[in-house]
């Protein structure tokens, strides 16, 4: 009796967990909330497989219960004849699975075929290069020239297909925006191509989906789908060099940036800083998050990241930087002005 109550309690807990999973925060990075054509197809296939699996599971559970309960009732349980038993095995264990699995195979093949269809040739192209543990993003024009560079945050025009060229400089990563598509690996020495389209505006969180080291779990990215006008404005701003420092404190911050270790790794176009091994900071002030979508982009988190990034993301290539409080304030003021 106690065991039964405990089991029911466990089932109820699972039910509540499933309900909780449907709240809006999780929808931003959910395969079951498709916001693009490929993700829609994948989600449909997923639900179909779940339904088929649930039916099969229910049937098997019913059979098991029948066996248990009926067997307990009589002291002399009725056994099947040998030929009857073989018919049960043939029908339930061979023919039924073949039919079910064939249906699922056809469904899977149809979805796969649709998802590998290349985008129209006029699709905008974005080059994504995976590093440990951040995403280098280049926007390309029609002739595949790089026109804008940013990091960890990708903006796309809504409802338009966007082609992604995926590369890696070190180990295998994987590009995964659950709301929009499945996973495509970034393999060093190889170029993979994927494409997405967002069916509605919004912010969709993505994640590296191939274990790449200590901070694999903290290698996220965000895809922002906007209207065409908003996207054009944003891209134009990304193409332009960094904003000039507006006041004395920002000027001092720029001097701190250029005189210290920052410019050895980072670049801010429009200044002498041309480091290529770390994220481009030309428009860092306008990004939603920092450190590959790990922390929000505000003064406190930015100062913490500069001062001791190893506490936030141990193992990342960003070293702790020791600055006087006045210098740190000026540097943060300068960086948040780079929108």
């Amino acid at each position: 009796m106690n065991a039964c109550i405990r089991k029911l309690g466990g089932i109820a807990a699972c039910g509540f967990a499933l309900l909780a999973m449907s709240c809006s925060e999780v929808d931003r990075q959910s395969v079951l909330t498709p916001k693009g054509p490929q993700a829609q197809l994948i989600a449909n296939l997923t639900w179909a497989m779940i339904a088929v699996g649930a039916v099969v599971f229910a049937a098997v559970a019913v059979l098991v219960l029948m066996a248990v309960l009926r067997g307990r009732r009589s002291a002399h349980p009725r056994l099947l004849e040998s030929h009857q038993a073989w018919r049960v095995v043939l029908a339930g264990g061979v023919i039924a699975p073949i039919i079910v699995l064939f249906v699922l195979l056809v469904g899977s093949a149809v979805v796969d075929r649709k998802n590998v269809t290349p985008p129209p040739g006029s699709a905008m192209t974005i080059e994504v290069i995976g590093h440990r543990w951040w995403w280098e993003v280049h926007y390309l024009d029609e002739r595949q020239n790089r026109v804008a560079v940013t990091a960890n945050e990708i903006h796309i025009p809504v409802t338009e297909p966007v082609r992604f060229i995926l590369k890696s400089v070190d180990v295998i990563h994987s590009f995964w925006i659950p709301n929009l598509h499945g996973k495509t690996d970034l393999i060093p020495g190889r170029t993979n191509v994927s494409w997405l389209a967002a069916s509605e505006p919004g912010v969709f969180r993505g994640q590296c989906a191939e274990f790449c080291g200590l901070q694999h779990a903290n290698m996220g990215l965000e895809v922002v789908a906007q209207s065409r006008e908003e996207f054009s404005t944003w891209l134009h701003r990304q193409q332009s060099p960094a904003a000039e420092p507006m006041d004395a404190e920002a000027r001092e911050g720029m001097q701190v940036f250029l005189a210290g270790p920052c410019m050895m790794c980072h670049s801010i176009r429009g200044t002498p800083a041309h480091g290529r091994v770390a994220p481009d900071l030309t428009h860092v002030g306008g990004r939603r998050r920092l450190a590959a979508a790990l922390i929000p982009n505000n003064r406190g988190h930015l100062a913490a990241w500069i001062t001791d990034a190893q506490r936030i993301k141990p193992g990342a290539a960003m070293p702790p930087i020791s600055l006087e409080p006045r210098q740190l304030r000026a540097l943060v003021h300068y960086l948040e002005g780079l929108e």
Partner: protein
């Protein structure tokens, strides 16, 4: 054996097991605190890079790298060597615009503190001054790497294939003296 003896041996065995486990050391790097990176850090102060001195010879004070014999520091040094574009002038030790780092000739000295001073202060004819630009612990990692490719310290697994030369086997650690001993008595 009595039951109490067996219990005693079992306790001793567990104790020995626990003691053996405590010998396992962590390959993680030591926790890094905030670092000072002035343009002329104290570690480079007083380092002499020439053996020519008037009057009595005063050896350079020894300063050991905090990463002596640390394989992780070697690997990090290899990464930083490319990261900060040392390969741009020195290639992977063979030199080019800059002198070779894999030969036995050290213009400004081969001891750890002398290499540290060279990186941090810069040198005439094109070696930039990286003081204040590269955090101090990363400079020490570069020092470890440069000494390793110069065959003054064991190289381990780091870029062995890049340094295979037909001349001879890598020299044993610390035994071979550089051609121009300068400054430090540590060699």
């Amino acid at each position: 054996m009595h039951a109490s003896e067996i219990r005693l041996w079992r306790k001793l065995l567990w104790l020995a097991f626990a003691a053996a486990l405590s010998g396992c050391s962590d390959e993680r790097p030591p926790p890094r605190g905030p670092l000072d990176s002035p343009a002329n850090p104290p570690a480079a102060a007083g380092v002499r890079v020439s053996s020519l001195q008037p009057g009595e010879f005063v050896p350079t004070p020894e300063r050991h790298s905090p990463y002596q014999g640390d394989p992780l520091a070697l690997a990090e040094g290899f990464r930083l060597f490319q990261w900060f574009n040392c390969v741009g002038c020195h290639s992977f030790g063979g030199g080019g615009m800059g002198p070779a780092l894999t030969d036995a000739k050290w213009i400004y000295g081969a001891s750890p503190e002398q290499i540290y001073a060279t990186i941090v202060q810069g040198r005439p004819n094109g070696m930039p001054s990286f003081g204040g630009k590269i955090p101090e612990d990363q400079v020490w990692k570069l020092v470890s790497y440069v000494r390793a490719i110069g065959r003054l310290e064991p190289l381990g697994q780091v870029n062995e294939t890049l340094l295979q030369d037909p001349i001879g086997e890598p020299q044993a650690q610390g035994e071979e003296e550089p051609v121009e001993p300068v400054g430090s008595a540590a060699q």
